[in-house]
């Protein structure tokens, strides 16, 4: 494992061995022991948009979206960090300022006003939103504050034109009850949603302002989760709880999670904006091993670098033509106005190709920061430990020679607009210096494959200050009790109720996700439908239909209630509903009788059906269909089913047929015996 001073490294082998040394296991094979070994710890911040007519601090419509590129005007802003009381800029603040981003807001008149672009002070807080948020706070069993203080939370990435988000705490210290665990809630806040990013290229970041200002709540848990699947369960639970009020927005982006992860000895890393809960396990799994890898890198560096504090890069700017950089991967380096630099990272041999995430290595940490901090779009660098070398060994030998580097050092070649090169060099140096400390506190953007990329440095706690444009809002006892009196059931109580009813568990996620529990309860209690049938009608049949057919814009879940009610009134078997869902889902506006006709249902009196039994029995007998192994009953059922469908429950009919057959058999046996 230990290389001699002048020994070259085999990156591919190094990547493999470092992965093994870290003890990375694919998630499918990982056990609780694996997570305990690395000290997996995670907490979540669940964001949920509320269903209100207007935005939180202005009278623009909430929840209306514009298509990308659909705008009436553009406004340019730059975010300037403000100094904290210690006269220092917050870490994020400084980084954002370094990036010198030009922020462009694309405004559509129908969805944004002068408040949204920070040209008008806020209007009074939306009371409807406050009420919904309070309801959710009570559901999380939080201690409700006496007075709501609207504060400003600074964001310098431009995602909010003011440079801060107006947000307020409604309650602290609550709990939710998962299947096998109680999870503590730190707080719940009501805040305005941010802009949607359109693009981020070089020094220009473009946002659209339709989502900006939609009322949003953020539920923050303690880092009580110790397994990736548990994190997902917690996120699902809070999502179901939010939806159980029926007062939140659903659809893509209406609920989003930030997931905090750390390993033992690591630090809090926030994976931002996870829009699908099913991504959570893979993301948290990979993140904990990324941190574990960074700690190993730290330990290795400590052995090779004597003086971490004095560690510096050295660099040399190159003429891309002169050095023959003609490969397509480095083509950008030759663009006009571009600079190109070679860097020596002393003592970093084996670090650049060190495993960090599946398919990624430490060098990707550098490249990610170059994109965000130095604003150099990828590809922005290559290095001496590429798994598939782009440049010939002679190139690296020459650079090694010119930078007076030996085999213990790693080399990086980076390029970008001339004016960004100095920031780029600083960025690489800074990230490498952080490697001596282990895990940098940062927020990371998630990808569907479960990997993440650097997004920004995590802000410190000193970025909140009161909103001088708003007054505190008193929350009085009566108002809170009034909301408490009409709370929906807790999600875990809904679980318990459904289990009691014997409804299969695989239907719960669908039922809760779509907040169908109240409707389900009404169908079971008011219409006296069998609970198992009703539960699976939603959780199996409707789910199946939804996945295969376009939903009519007129379809509401109440359509199912109406259907069941009609069937009951007409004395039609509820079981028929299963066949009708597809029709009602696509054409809810058509009257139910026509739907019945469409599935070729004909009303036949029960007696009329039962009358056919003796006749059929006789035919069967004459045709030699014996009842010995139930064949006759099966045949008779087959004959009766078309007319029985919906008119008599099939189990009941089956019982009649079987009974008749066994009586007939006994009768014939007796007769036979008497002969």
């Amino acid at each position: 494992m230990f290389l001699m001073k002048n020994e070259k490294i085999d990156p591919r082998q190094n990547y493999q061995t470092s992965r093994e040394a870290v003890g990375y296991v694919p998630r499918a094979k990982a056990t609780q022991e694996d997570y305990d070994r690395v000290g997996f710890k995670s907490g979540i911040e669940v964001h949920q948009q509320l269903k209100t007519r207007k935005k939180l601090f202005c009278n623009c419509p909430a929840g209306r979206y514009n298509r990308k590129g659909e705008y009436d005007a553009e406004i340019i802003r730059h975010m300037r960090p403000t100094l904290s009381e210690l006269g220092e800029y917050d870490g994020t603040a400084l980084m954002e300022f370094k990036t010198r981003k030009q922020i462009v807001y694309q405004i559509r008149n129908e969805t944004a006003c002068t408040y949204d672009i920070d040209d008008t002070p806020p209007f009074p807080l939306n009371r409807k939103a406050l009420e919904i948020a309070l309801e959710l706070s009570l559901l999380c069993r939080l201690n409700i504050v006496g007075e709501v203080h609207i504060i400003r939370k600074q964001y310098l990435d431009g995602s909010i034109p003011t440079g801060f988000q107006r947000t307020a705490i409604l309650g602290v210290e609550g709990v939710i009850q998962l299947k096998n665990k109680t999870v503590r809630i730190i707080q719940l806040s009501l805040e305005e949603d941010s802009c949607r990013e359109v693009s981020d290229v070089g020094h220009v970041r473009v946002y659209q302002t339709d989502r900006l200002g939609i009322p949003l709540i953020e539920t923050v848990t303690y880092p009580d989760f110790s397994h990736p699947d548990e994190v997902q369960e917690g996120a699902q639970y809070i999502r179901f709880l939010n939806r159980s009020t029926g007062k939140v927005l659903v659809g893509i982006g209406a609920g989003r999670e930030d997931v905090n992860v750390s390993c033992r000895g690591g630090d809090r890393v926030e994976i931002k904006g996870v829009s699908h809960n099913r991504w959570i396990p893979e993301l948290t799994h990979n993140e904990v091993f990324r941190q574990w890898s960074l700690l190993r890198i730290r330990d290795l560096l400590k052995k090779t670098v004597q003086d971490p504090r004095g560690w510096r890069i050295s660099s040399k700017s190159l003429d891309a033509e002169e050095y023959g950089l003609i490969q397509p991967e480095v083509a950008k380096a030759r663009e006009s106005g571009y600079g190109c630099s070679a860097l020596r990272l002393p003592g970093f041999r084996g670090m650049l190709s060190h495993f960090t995430q599946p398919g990624q290595m430490f060098a990707d940490e550098l490249s990610g920061r170059l994109k965000v901090i130095a604003c150099i779009d990828k590809p922005n660098m290559i290095h001496s430990e590429e798994l598939d070398p782009v440049l010939p060994p002679e190139f690296w030998d020459r650079i090694r020679n010119e930078l007076q580097a030996d085999e213990e050092d790693a080399l990086v070649l980076l390029w970008g607009p001339e004016e960004d090169i100095s920031t780029a060099l600083e960025t690489v140096e800074e990230r490498c210096q952080l490697a001596f400390e282990g895990v940098p506190r940062e927020s990371r953007k998630s990808f569907s494959d479960g990997t993440t990329v650097f997004e920004r440095v995590l802000p410190g706690p000193n970025r909140m200050y009161p909103d001088t444009d708003s007054v505190p809002i008193s929350l009085d006892y009566d108002a809170i009790e009034e909301i408490r009196s009409r709370l929906p059931l807790d999600v875990h109580e809904m679980y318990a109720r459904m289990t009691e009813w014997g409804i299969p568990e695989d239907t719960y996620p669908y039922i809760l996700r779509n907040n169908l529990f109240p409707l389900l309860t009404r169908i079971i209690e008011e219409l006296e439908v069998d609970p198992v049938f009703a539960g699976t009608l939603f959780g199996h049949t409707l789910k199946h239909v939804e996945g295969r057919h376009p939903r009519s814009p007129d379809f509401r879940y109440e359509v199912i209630y109406d259907l069941m009610e009609h069937l009951k009134k007409e004395g039609i078997e509820p079981a028929l509903a299963r066949e009708m869902i597809e029709e009602r889902y696509q054409h809810p506006q058509i009257d139910i009788e026509s739907s019945l006709a469409a599935i070729k249902f004909k009303k036949v009196a029960e007696a009329e059906i039962l009358e056919k039994i003796p006749v059929l029995c006789t035919i069967a007998e004459e045709s030699g269909i014996s009842e010995d192994s139930g064949a006759r009953t099966r045949w008779m059922m087959g004959q009766l089913r078309p007319s029985a469908r919906g008119n008599i429950s099939l189990p009941e009919l089956h019982r009649h047929v079987k009974e008749y057959n066994s009586q007939a058999r006994a009768h014939s046996n007796r007769e036979g015996a008497g002969q």
Binding site: Y71, D72, A73, E74, I75, I76, R77, H78, M79, R80, P81, T82, L83, S84, E85, L86, G87, N109, T114, I117, D118, D119, T120, P121, L142, N143, I144, V145, G146, E147, V148, H149, I151, R152, K153, Q154, Y155, L156, P161, T162, G163, F164, T167, I169, V172, E173, I186, Q187, S189, V220, P461, N462, R463, M464, Y465, P466, T468, V471, P472, S474
Partner: protein, 461 residues
């Protein structure tokens, strides 16, 4: 002092703090009927009620606790906030112009105290350098805080003090002057200084901000840079207002002090030149002239201060059915000058005539301007106008109402001779009255029209 440890608390909240031995800056645990709360007790805003105690909780948020829910308070620690603004010496370089910044009380730059939420103004060159380091690339800056008043409290005394101080600074050889000012009455002060500083050899630039400097999106820093550039480098030796051109962080306008007006209560681009085009566009490192001619910068540093102002002057905004006793009251109370902002071309209704007649007879100077802001007073078009002229009301052409008010105060401050006052009022100073209104002087476009929408989309607001 006992007040200190209960900062801002009064009534019931104060009593609870006293009874339960709690104090501001104490880290406490409160047991309440709504559960446990932990945090640091913050001072309370004087204007808020006496029913709540404010806590800053561990996550940095503030919350209020109802005093009637509190069972007990346990102090777990104590940490009083004290802050200092670190100063960095403002760098001096020989090749940069020397600029003086006078402060009047508006916050140009500031720092935040995250514990209290207080905005701490940054004003000394060192503090400003810490907040807006780019200033050092533009000029050598020195500062002097003259007053600490809100914009709406700026008045004649302050105008006079400012004029004298500016003249003194100019004579000492400064290359340009900036005045930091709240925005509400920025244009009044701009007009006053225009009249009170005669024959300026260097630029005098008033600047403010529409979004306070404690916000990341503030316009303050950029406005300040624009003002510093205009004061130190521009060739325009006039009293000007430098504020955002569009609402975007793009360029600023230099508006003539006599033609500028705040036209929106909150927009960044609130200041507009009325009835003409702005003097120039300004960016961090350049000025692009729009208006010619202008008063150019001189090498000498001669300037005359004319710090005069009669306070018994008023501005009356006419409305239908205005009663004559409004005018009578003014006369009875010793007002010497009245500027009327009349309707349309400069009109008031007939019932007011006798009162105006009485006022003129008592030696009150009455001038007419238009509340339409754009356009000229024209009293010959309608009979009412001609009647008014007969009564002795003097039309002020296209002088803005606020400018006319300031000018009349300044004129009456110099003389009681109404003939001389009239001469002063009608002699244009720095385009307070222009001979002509250019076709592009009045531009208020209306949205919804396809070509306007296209313009907005293309050129950003």
């Amino acid at each position: 002092m006992s007040d200190d440890i209960f900062q801002g608390y009064k009534g019931q909240a104060l009593k609870v703090l006293q009874d339960l031995h709690a104090r501001v800056w104490g880290l406490v645990r409160m047991d309440t009927t709504r559960g446990l709360f932990e945090g640091t007790i913050l001072p309370r805003s004087e204007s808020d009620d006496d029913q709540h105690i404010v806590l800053k909780i561990a996550t940095g948020y503030n919350i209020g606790i109802k005093v009637n829910t509190i069972r007990s308070i346990t102090e777990l620690g104590y940490q009083k906030a004290h802050y200092q603004i670190p100063e960095k010496e403002f760098p001096y370089s020989d090749d940069k112009p020397n600029v003086k910044l006078f402060g009047t009380g508006g916050t140009i730059a500031s720092r935040l105290d995250y514990r209290t939420g207080a905005v701490i103004p940054a004003f000394s060159p060192g503090e400003l350098y810490g907040a807006v380091p780019e200033l050092a690339d533009i000029c050598n800056l020195t500062t002097d805080k003259l007053f600490a008043v809100f914009s709406e409290n700026m008045g004649p005394e302050q105008y006079k003090t400012l004029a004298v101080a500016i003249a003194k600074e100019i004579r000492k050889g400064i290359d340009g002057v900036i005045i930091g000012h709240g925005t509400d009455t920025l244009h009044h002060t701009a007009a006053a200084l225009t009249y009170m500083l005669d024959d300026l050899p260097v630029p005098v630039v008033l600047v403010g901000s529409q979004r306070s400097s404690d916000r990341p999106s503030s316009d303050a820093a950029l406005n300040l840079m624009h003002a510093a550039y205009a004061a130190g480098h521009s060739d325009i030796a006039e009293v000007m207002v430098s504020m955002f051109g569009p609402t975007s962080d793009d360029y600023g306008f230099l508006h003539r002090g006599t033609r500028v007006r705040k036209m929106h209560s909150s927009y960044r681009s609130a200041f507009r030149t009325i009835g003409d085009i702005p003097l120039a566009k300004v960016v961090q490192d350049g000025v692009e002239m729009l208006k010619h001619p202008y008063n150019p910068r001189r090498r000498d540093r001669k300037v005359t201060a004319l710090p005069y102002f009669e306070e018994k002057v008023t501005l009356v905004y006419y409305y239908p059915n205005m009663m004559p006793d409004v005018i009578d009251c003014l006369v009875d109370n010793g007002y010497k000058g009245i500027v009327i902002a009349g309707t349309g071309l400069g009109h008031v209704n007939k019932p007011l005539y006798p009162a105006i007649k009485r006022a003129v007879e008592k030696g009150v100077a009455i001038y007419m301007t238009v509340q339409t802001l754009w356009g000229y007073v024209h009293m010959y078009v309608y009979e009412t106008g001609r009647d008014m002229l007969d009564l002795g009301v003097i039309p002020l052409q296209n002088m803005l109402p606020e400018v006319a008010y300031i000018k009349l105060g300044w004129a009456l401050g110099q003389t009681n001779d109404l003939g001389k006052v009239n001469e002063i009022m009608l002699t244009p100073v720095n385009d307070d009255i222009t001979e002509r209104e250019p076709y592009n002087g009045y531009l208020i476009y209306q949205g919804g029209v396809p070509e306007v929408e296209e313009f907005i989309k293309k050129f950003r607001k």
